[in-house]
């Protein structure tokens, strides 16, 4: 895995936007709950590459958790189907208030090629407020890590 290079412009823009809303980026640690909201599985494959980079994740304080109550990042992949609307909202309700929503992949951003389907809501943004988006179909693991590090207050 190449060393990450998060874009400082994205980092600053996110920090300023959150500050304007009276919110802050997570400090020192990212505990991530991943939710697949109707993905083909491509983004999940890249996430597995991210998770296999264990030494780097530990160094940056990134950890994937199973319980949304212990997470401060909700990482969503997939098109946001009608069927996943309720589970997505319930996951977000279970999380602490200081949280960020990060979406991964073109499908999660706007529904991707499935945006015309009646069973698809057309992006996670139709359901919850999205703080950061990592685009690509699927994005490379390095881009996902760069995106996650942009959400971390060093």
């Amino acid at each position: 895995m190449k060393p990450p290079h998060p874009d400082p412009a994205i980092r600053t823009a996110l920090a300023q936007r959150l500050a304007a809303e009276g919110r802050a980026r997570p400090h020192l640690a990212l505990t991530i709950r991943h939710l697949d909201a109707g993905s083909c599985g491509g983004c999940e494959l890249e996430l597995r590459s991210v998770r296999a980079w264990q030494s780097g994740l530990t160094a940056y304080g990134i950890r994937f958790v199973d319980d949304p109550r212990t997470a401060n990042i909700l990482l969503v992949t997939g098109v946001a189907t009608q069927g996943m609307a309720a589970p997505l909202r319930r996951t977000l309700e279970a999380m602490p208030d200081a949280r960020l929503v990060v979406v991964i992949g073109d499908c999660a951003v706007d529904g991707g090629v499935f945006k015309d389907s009646q069973a698809v809501l057309g992006g996670v943004v139709r359901l919850v407020t999205v703080d950061l988006a990592v685009t690509g179909c699927p994005p490379a693991p390095e881009h996902i890590i760069d995106g996650l590090l942009a959400a971390l207050d060093p």
Binding site: R33, G38, L45, S49, A52, V113, A140
Partner: protein, 405 residues
Amino acid sequence: MTAPPDELIALLSRAAIEPAAPEPLRVLSAPDWARLATLPGYQLAALWVEQDRALGLVQRDDWVAPIATEGAEPAFALMRNAHPHLALAQRSGEFADAPGEGVYQIGEGPVGGEIAEPMHRRLHLAGDSVLRADHRFGYAHRDILTLIEGKSPRAAVRFAARIAGLSAVAHSLAFARAAEAASGAAIPAPVEALREAMAATERCVASLLALARLADICALPRLAATLIDLRTSMADAAAQIFFHRLMMDMVVPGGIDIAPRLSALPMLIAHLQSVRAVLQPFGAWRWRRRWADLAEPVRGRVWQAINDAAFAVSALAPFSAAERAEPWSVALPSQNGAGLGQARDLDGPIYCWMRLDGGFITVCTIANQGLNRIAALEAAAPGQTRAAFARRAALLMPPIGMIDQ
């Protein structure tokens, strides 16, 4: 191809032939649908509902025929008979109870638990022993078949590719072959060979990922990371050659979408050649005893990965010698017809049946082994410990997209 069994021929010969269908579509009566479930060795490879009637693909060994019936209810009854362990796609209602004293239930997904996928798994347990496992789907339904209908095969193949990212090439290939059979297009042999090589590479990657999941759950994170690293390198190479990390959208009806960058092929071939060495630890006894209950399927996955890698290397090697001057795709003739396409993913055949009218898709179905794999997983659950079931699921669970289309 094996011949269909006599009793199935007798049953199908009683069916009415739909006159408008270019390929014989047999419309069965409700009693014959029910009788179909009692035939030995038969399998329903696909089932879908088209307005007021149900259609299916009946399969025995490698013999496949499309069938239909009036009204959907007999078809669902058939499905329940075929897969008694399966909770049909539904998101409400009670799970069937496992009787006994001290029985408790654990539910996982989609909100909490180790499962972050759009499905719910319900385990009935007594102590640490699993009595019953049920899976519930329907959360990730994207209505792909409706999106496909009414479009040209070339425009619709991107939906087929996104049924499951792990078998994107296999689904695209089955779809492309159905469209080519329906329209009567002939694909040049070298293009077909490259498509087969891509599918073999994808199957090898899928085997590696299944083994990585198993290694992870068996507390061998370094082995898992090695396998994932190899997969990541192969995805990087695929992005160089085919312009997509999962080789999506390259296999299209008529051939290959854009000319691949063949100069980068040696990188992919080198990664494929290293598969055998990376999988060596799976033969070592000190690791093997951790999955002693899964010895046979693990051996199967390991040899699948090795054989697919070897096949892909031998099929890709001729392409690295010279750039191809001829076009990589042919135009599909715009005509009426129906055709069946077949390709293979990690766990068996994928079928696509398609009817074209004036070059546009009027009916399409895609059948894969997703439901069969879940049914086998549920059937094997009773009597296992929870950890043993988790290991089995890690190795044999299909991508959810294959079930929830």
